[in-house]
Every structure is written in structure tokens, then in C-alpha cells.
């Protein structure tokens, strides 16, 4: 009897292990399938709604933008994508003319006559940008071009009629676009690299309406085969234009990139794989298990695995167990984490009484002094984040290495003295609300913050947590001025310091991105002047002055740029990137050998 049971169990096990998915093929050959783990899932795949990193990753592989960044060049450099060349810009910086390539077609789709994809034209670009100003689209990218392109805001006020023309956004012919700006906007080309600016055909928008978000029609190297809450599968677009890859053109640096195996891409035309599979794995443990089991080729290493993966932190070095098994990169994020003071809150912000105003500033500065960046970095960022004073992050050229380091050094004695000198004590200190969306980590960050303040004599009961169910609810609360201490982060939209300085620009106050509601006429004046300037020593000087204003006014406890760790399979030929909503590198991913025999 026992023997029969054993045999039955063995048979059952055999059946189970023989089960599984047959390997994918491409005309009899094993298909090249690249699997990418993402730590979140995208919402809509309509370019007009591609607000998240996750959506942008997929959108820029399905659709085309006029420009992109060179795949391998660091610092980032702009490169034409659908544009035939870099733009022609008039001497006053107000007129931008862009030529568009003539060999580009949308992928075949039933939305087109006969189901055959037609040529991408200048009118499609104009239409795609106009969609952001049509309330029906529920677009999220209008802020990039709002009040910047002549007539575009007026077009919206007049009812968003696509048959009426926008004076500042015109197709001169099928392959030329002319943009007329209301004031110089050197960042315009950067905005045209983003998923928001991806080009969609009007036929598809009219055919699918809101469902375009799940039925994308673009001209990119891949097309969407399927998508659900756990994964998205993209297959090669067989009609994608021939555009041979040129290492030198993409900014290849043999000294630092020779080990990535990218040389095999030279002169070949992307896409190089048959299928891209995005696995949306929010749980760190599951993502890590999937990676170590070889089910995905790439992972952004969860912080919980840093100890396991790294042998040392400075410089960041991979453990011997992983070295040689995987490619590895430690990449500074293009953004930062900070805690803003709500300057509209008279308890610690700007007060109509000048004396109280001085006391409030002292309170903010004392809190800045009480904050321990070393501990924050050690506990939550594995001590590999980069702490810096103000809002200019170390990865932009405007960063001043000789900046005011005292702003990020803990000075408890100074904090206590400042409080005492300005008449703040346990009785008079105001009760403050510290907001965060509900999560264990956010709660831990809050407790650490409160502890720092307690060290300087702030009563524990006077720093209260305000917890919100979702980030959206939290954002609503601080946009309505209901939160005093706003813990948040910012990821740059493009590699230009203007995108950082606008975070404290008065007109961008809540509900805008200036959640501190900082309003300093001198700061705003310098911003207005500098935002219209291209990168230059003069602009750098202005930005550094503005940064010093933020420090002098103690507007925010800032900041830290996190370091992201990437690991990827040795068979995957690529240089991953997660900056500026990223994702373009997936066009150029290749696999050394078909690696899809296990599902």
C-alpha cells in the first residue's frame, strides 16, 4: 500500500514538473524574449496620460517622440528621433522649426483605412500636442506647454476644436512643424523627448476614445500584444523603419561601457529582440525571487537586498557572489527627497507681524539644524544616498560642490540656542502636522523625524502624524494647505536645473509643484530671467543665488538624492536607465542568446 502511494506521488510530481509553457518561437527559431521587472504598474498607455515612470517606459517603446536622449551619453545629450535634425531656432528664441523624417509609418491597425498604418506627418505631432489642451483627453502633460506656445491656451478656452488652427503650433507641410513661443523656452526640446509628446494618429484616438489607453497605436519598435495588472507583453513591430545603430552617435564610451557587450549592436537596426515582457512586481521579495530564479533579466535592487548584494558601500561594490553573475550599476537618481515647510502656515511660515516672522524663521532653521541627515541616509538609504544643501542636485552642472554644507550638518546645540533666543519653548512651540501616505516606511520616516525634533526639545505630542490612504489624498491635503510639514520627493522631468528651481517659484504655489508655497519676489525675478536662458555661467550663478535664498530662508529640509542599484542578466546587452521618466533604452535591448526556455 505504502509503495503504491509512493509511486502515485512520484508520478504526480513528474507530471507537475513536466508541465509548463512551451518556449516561444520566431519562425521556428527560439524567440528572443527580454523580461523586465518593474516595481509598479502603469495606468493608462495613452501618451497624453503617461504621467508615471512605468507608463512612460512602455509608451516610448510603442510610440515615437521627435527627440530622445542619446542612449549611452552621460551627461544626457539630445538626439533627433522622429525629427530629421536638431531644430532651427530663431535668433530671438521664439520660433522653432522642426523637420520630420519621411520614412516613418504608424503600425497597422484597424483604425486606419484598410488596416494599413499610414505615414506619420507633421499634422500628427500638432494634433498630439493639442490633445493635452482638450479637457476630453484628461491629459496630464499640458503643464509642459501651458502659457508657452502662442495661441494654445486660447484654443482650449475657445472649445478645443481640432479643426481650428493654433497660431503657435502649425504644420508648415507634411514634414515640417513650426512652434511659436510666447517667450524663450530653452527646455522645449527636452519636453519633446517625453512620453507626453509621443505622436498618436487622430484616427486611433477617434476610433478608441478613452480606450486608446489600452489599445495604443504608435510608430515605435514594438506593439502591445497583451496587458493585465501583472504584466504587459510587447511584440516586435515588423514594419519598424530601418535605422542602423551607431555606437559613436549614441555616445558610446569604451572606457566605461566596453564590458556591456554593446559592440554587437553596431550597424544593426532595432528592435533586436522579438518580445519585451514587462513584469509588474510591487513586492520586493517576489521581485527578488523572480530575478534570482532567472525569470526576469533586470531588477532595480530592493533596499532590503542591499546588504546581500553589496560588499561595501563606499565605493559601492558588488558582493563576490554576484560579481561575475550579473551586470551591475549604481546610478544616482535624477531627483531628491525633502521635507518642505508650508510657508503659508502662519505658525511657522510667513507671518504678517515682522517680529513673529523672524521667530518663525528661527523655528524653521532650528528644525533644519535638528535634522540628522547622516542617520536618515544610514537608516533609509543604506548610506549610499548623496546629501546636499538646497534644491540643486549633485547630478546637474549647476550644483555647487562648495555650497553651504552647514545646512545639512546636524547642530543640536545650535538648534536649541536658536529656539531659546527666539522665545520658543515647550509651551510656545506650535503643534505641527506631518503628512504622509499610509505605509510602514513612511511611518518609520515620520517617527525618525519626530525623534530628531525631540532631541532639540520639541515635544513629541506637538508633531502629529497626518496619514492618508493614497498619495493622491495626501497631495490634495497639502495642495489645500492642510499639512504643515510636507515630506515628498521630486524626479526631474528633464536634465535641466530649471526643473528643480521651479519647485520654489511663487506662481507654482499649491496646487502647483511649489508645495512649500514659497513666495520670494527676488527668487521669482531671477527664475523668470534664468528660465528663458540656455545653460550658461550666468544662469548657473543665478540658480546658485536662488539656492542660497532657499537655504537662508530655511524653506525646506533638503535634500538627498538616492542611489539606485541595477542588476541585469549577463545575457542582456543593454545599459539600463531610469532617469527623466526614461525607458528609451528598451528599444535597444538585445540578448546574447535566446533565454526564454523557462517561462
Amino acid at each position: 500500500m505504502l509503495k503504491k502511494i509512493q509511486i502515485a506521488l512520484l508520478l504526480a510530481l513528474l507530471i507537475l514538473v513536466c508541465c509548463g509553457e512551451p518556449p516561444a518561437t520566431n519562425g521556428g527559431k527560439p524567440a528572443k524574449v527580454y523580461r523586465h521587472a518593474m516595481d509598479g504598474a502603469p495606468g493608462s498607455l495613452d501618451p497624453a496620460q503617461a504621467a508615471s515612470l512605468y507608463a512612460n517606459f512602455i509608451v516610448v517603446t510603442l510610440d515615437d517622440t521627435l527627440y530622445r536622449y542619446k542612449y549611452l551619453a552621460r551627461p544626457y545629450q539630445l538626439q533627433p528621433n522622429l525629427a530629421a535634425a536638431m531644430p532651427e531656432i530663431s535668433a530671438d528664441g521664439l520660433q522653432v522649426t522642426i523637420r520630420i523624417r519621411e520614412d516613418v509609418y504608424f503600425m497597422d491597425d484597424p483604425a486606419f483605412a484598410n488596416g494599413k498604418g499610414r505615414e506619420v506627418k507633421a499634422q500628427d505631432f500638432v494634433y498630439s500636442i493639442m490633445r493635452h489642451f482638450d479637457p476630453e483627453t484628461r491629459a496630464q502633460g499640458a503643464w509642459l506647454w501651458q502659457n508657452r506656445i502662442e495661441g494654445l491656451d486660447r484654443w482650449k478656452e475657445q472649445g478645443s476644436d481640432y479643426d481650428s488652427e493654433v497660431t503657435g503650433l502649425r504644420a508648415l507641410d507634411d514634414h515640417s512643424v513650426q512652434i511659436t513661443l510666447t517667450k524663450p523656452f530653452p527646455q522645449l526640446i527636452h519636453t519633446l523627448t517625453q512620453g507626453y509628446a509621443a505622436i498618436v494618429p487622430r484616427e486611433a484616438v477617434e476610433a478608441y476614445g478613452q480606450m486608446l489607453s489600452n489599445h495604443p497605436v504608435g510608430s515605435g519598435p514594438f506593439r502591445l500584444a497583451s496587458r493585465d495588472s501583472a504584466r504587459a507583453v510587447l511584440t516586435r513591430n515588423p514594419d519598424f523603419r530601418q535605422q542602423p545603430f551607431d555606437l559613436a552617435d549614441e555616445g558610446y564610451d569604451p572606457a566605461s561601457q566596453a564590458n556591456l557587450g554593446l559592440q554587437v549592436l553596431q550597424d544593426r537596426s532595432p528592435p533586436f529582440v522579438d518580445r519585451l515582457e514587462f513584469e509588474f512586481i510591487t513586492e520586493d521579495a517576489a521581485r527578488w525571487n523572480a530575478f534570482t530564479a532567472g525569470e526576469v533579466h533586470f531588477i532595480k535592487v530592493p533596499v532590503s537586498q542591499f546588504d546581500n548584494v553589496l560588499s561595501q558601500r563606499n565605493p559601492v561594490t558588488l558582493s563576490p557572489g554576484f560579481d561575475g553573475m550579473y551586470h551591475f550599476e549604481a546610478s544616482p537618481e535624477s531627483g531628491f527627497v525633502y521635507t518642505n515647510f508650508n510657508m503659508d502656515d502662519e505658525r511657522l511660515g510667513i507671518h504678517p507681524d515682522p517680529e513673529q516672522n523672524i521667530r518663525n524663521r528661527a523655528l524653521r532653521c532650528a528644525m533644519v539644524k535638528a535634522f540628522d541627515w547622516d542617520k536618515r541616509n544610514e537608516i533609509f538609504f543604506y548610506d549610499i544616498g548623496r546629501v546636499f544643501p538646497g534644491a540643486i542636485i549633485p547630478s546637474v552642472p549647476e550644483f555647487d560642490p562648495a555650497g553651504d554644507a552647514s545646512y545639512i550638518q546636524r547642530d543640536l546645540k545650535g538648534a536649541r540656542e536658536l529656539l531659546q533666543a527666539n522665545g520658543w519653548d515647550e509651551e510656545t512651540l506650535p503643534t505641527l502636522e506631518y503628512g504622509f501616505p499610509n505605509s510602514v516606511t513612511e511611518r518609520q520616516i515620520f517617527e525618525q523625524f519626530r525623534n530628531f525634533m525631540m532631541d532639540a526639545g520639541y515635544p513629541s505630542a506637538k508633531i502629529r502624524p497626518m496619514i492618508f490612504a493614497t498619495y493622491g489624498d495626501y497631495q490634495r491635503a497639502y495642495s489645500q494647505g492642510k499639512v504643515t510639514l510636507i515630506n515628498s520627493s521630486w524626479t526631474m522631468d528633464y536634465p535641466d536645473a530649471e526643473n528643480l528651481m521651479q519647485l520654489y517659484y511663487g506662481p507654482n504655489s499649491a496646487p502647483g509643484s511649489n508645495s512649500a508655497n514659497y513666495k520670494n519676489p527676488e527668487y521669482d525675478r531671477l527664475y523668470d530671467i534664468s528660465a528663458a536662458m540656455a545653460e550658461s555661467p550666468e544662469r548657473t550663478e543665478n540658480y546658485r543665488k536662488m539656492n542660497q535664498m532657499l537655504i537662508d530662508d530655511c524653506v525646506s529640509i533638503n535634500g538627498i538624492s538616492r542611489t539606485l542599484l541595477f542588476l541585469w542578466d549577463r545575457n542582456a546587452i543593454m545599459k539600463p536607465d531610469r532617469s527623466f521618466l526614461g525607458g528609451y533604452f528598451l528599444r535597444f535591448v538585445d540578448l546574447a542568446e535566446p533565454a526564454n526556455t523557462t517561462p
Binding site: E21, A41, S44, Q140, R231, A286, T470, P599
Partner: protein, 316 residues
């Protein structure tokens, strides 16, 4: 079966559905997440905020919105997801079968094994076998679901263990692939539910075993098998049925969020969790409404089964 009894049970269900949907809708509207700020771009103007609120229907009167909600539930035209723009009915159609296929084997096995172990423990109550089963149940109940999932993944799905099954995925196209993807989640589900089921069923059986009619049957010389299956199990079917029936809506609608998210299975649980965290009200409304309807249905079917198992229940 008494037709009047059934009609009465069905009619009782209507106010129950209205009550459940009204309360849940009220909570969602006034205390649920607000999607507005998730859909806004950076630096929004007050006008843009109003536009999004209007597009989401947040500016409409509560009763009008509730009326629309009921109409959507009746017609099963549940609108479009605020996040992905996909019709909610399509999402449900795609995800419900996945969740059922995922949870059903574990649900059935967990209950059958719980019943068997419960019967065994009850029969040998106070003896070492009973103590062993109960102790094992307590251990099973004490281990976190998450630990079980991660442990099984490492043990069965990675090179650190046997590496026999996938860590995640659901590319099911035939029985073989189904077994390939469902085995580890099923094991996890059985391990986590078995302790609870066994303890519950044991308590029910012990109560039944101590009744007079069992002693009478014993006096008449009934064999242990006859006693357990014909007298004990049959007469304790009412609490057993209640437990199983009331679990059905969870199995159908909620799926198992942890299983789905850790094993990357695109079922209704994962969709619901994402809808909660992102404030996707059309999906939340559909899931809450359908769960309410399913509960009422389960209640009605449960009452009908009672009357089958014990005809005295249906007597007026």
C-alpha cells in the same frame, strides 16, 4: 423544496442589496480615495482641478451618482476604469475566471482536508492524535501567509531550493500549464487555511458526537465509519455549509490579494487592491456591488440548502 420559502428568501435579498450598496457607496464617496490629484499634471490650475473633478463625476449630487451606480449594476455596464480606461466589465470578465481558477483548488482541498482532519481529531478527542492535529493546526494558524508564500517560493521556485515551479506568472493555456502555475499558490493556500478549517470542523464534530442520538446509534452497534459519515457528518452539515457558502463570495470576487500579487497572477484581487490604492472608483464600485450581490445570493442558496439538509427549517 418549498417554493414560497425560496421566493421569500429572494425577496428578502433585495433590501439587503440596496442597503449594502448604499452604505458602501456612501463610504466610498465621502471617505474613499480621491482620484483627482492622481490624474492631474504638475502645476495644475484651479480650473484644471475642476475639469478633472467634473470628468470623474465628483461634482454631481450624491443621489444622482447612487442612482447611476444602481443602473450600472443592473445593466452590468460598469463604466471605464479611471486608471487604465478599460471597460470595467472587460476587466472583470478577464480577471474573475483567473481568481476562481487560482483559489478553487486550494479552497476545495483546504476544506476537504480540514473536514477529514476535523473528523479524525473529534473521533479521537483528548487522545494523542487529537493533540497532534490541534497542535499542528495552531502552528499553521500562527505562521504568516506572507512567510508561507516566500518560504514556498524559495523552496520550490528558486535555485536556492528545488527550482521546480515558476516564482510568478499565469500563462495558462492547457491543463499542464495550469498545474504548473497553480501548484505553489495552492500549497500556500492550503497551508494557511488548513489550521483554521480543521479547528472549526473539529469543534462542530465534537459538539455533534456528544449528542444523544450518536450515543443511541453507538448503543445500536453502528460502526465507527457509519457513525462518522452517516450520523455525525450529515447532522453537522448546517454549520459546514454556512462556512463554505459564506466563503464563496470571497473566493469569487476577492480572490487572494497576497497570492495574486506575490505570484504575479492577474486576478480580481490584484485589480481591487490597485483600485483601492489608486482610488479607481468605477472598479471599486463594481467589486463592492458585486460582492454584496454575491453575498445575498450565497445567503439565499445557503437557506435553500438548509431546507434540503434539514426540512424543518423551511416550515412556516
Amino acid at each position: 423544496m418549498n417554493r414560497r420559502y425560496i421566493t421569500r428568501r429572494v425577496l428578502y435579498g433585495i433590501p439587503l442589496i440596496l442597503g449594502v450598496t448604499f452604505v458602501s457607496f456612501l463610504l466610498m464617496v465621502y471617505f474613499g480615495p480621491d482620484k483627482t490629484y492622481e490624474l492631474l499634471g504638475k502645476n495644475p490650475t484651479t480650473e484644471q482641478i475642476s475639469e478633472v473633478r467634473r470628468a470623474l463625476g465628483y461634482d454631481r449630487a450624491f443621489l444622482l451618482r447612487y442612482g447611476d451606480y444602481l443602473r450600472e449594476l443592473v445593466t452590468l455596464d460598469l463604466g471605464l476604469s479611471d486608471s487604465s480606461g478599460e471597460p470595467v466589465s472587460v476587466i472583470l470578465k478577464r480577471t474573475l475566471p483567473v481568481s476562481i481558477a487560482l483559489v478553487l483548488p486550494g479552497f476545495i482541498l483546504g476544506n476537504l482536508m480540514g473536514l477529514a482532519l476535523g473528523l479524525l481529531a473529534a473521533w479521537y478527542r483528548g487522545k494523542w492524535l487529537d493533540k497532534l492535529v490541534m497542535s499542528a493546526s495552531v502552528v499553521g494558524m500562527s505562521v504568516s501567509f506572507l512567510v508561507i508564500i516566500i518560504g514556498l517560493q524559495i523552496l520550490l521556485c528558486t535555485p536556492y531550493g528545488l527550482n521546480l515551479f515558476p516564482v510568478r506568472g499565469w500563462q495558462v493555456h492547457d491543463l499542464g500549464s495550469y498545474l504548473y502555475y497553480v501548484t505553489v499558490p495552492t500549497l500556500a493556500l492550503v497551508l494557511v487555511t488548513l489550521g483554521y478549517n480543521t479547528r472549526f470542523y473539529r469543534a462542530v464534530m465534537v459538539e455533534e458526537i456528544e449528542r444523544d442520538h450518536i450515543r443511541t446509534a453507538q448503543a445500536y452497534g453502528a460502526s465507527p465509519r457509519e457513525l462518522l459519515f452517516r450520523h455525525v457528518l450529515k447532522n453537522s452539515l448546517i454549520p459546514v455549509l454556512t462556512r463554505i457558502m459564506f466563503s464563496v463570495p470571497f473566493v469569487v470576487i476577492s480572490g487572494s490579494l497576497l497570492l495574486e500579487s506575490y505570484f504575479g497572477i492577474p486576478g480580481i484581487g490584484l485589480v481591487t487592491f490597485n483600485a483601492i490604492t489608486s482610488g479607481d472608483q468605477p472598479i471599486l464600485k463594481a467589486v463592492v456591488g458585486l460582492t454584496g450581490v454575491l453575498f445575498v445570493l450565497a445567503l439565499t442558496v445557503n437557506d435553500m440548502l438548509y431546507s434540503l439538509v434539514d426540512p424543518r427549517v423551511a416550515k412556516p
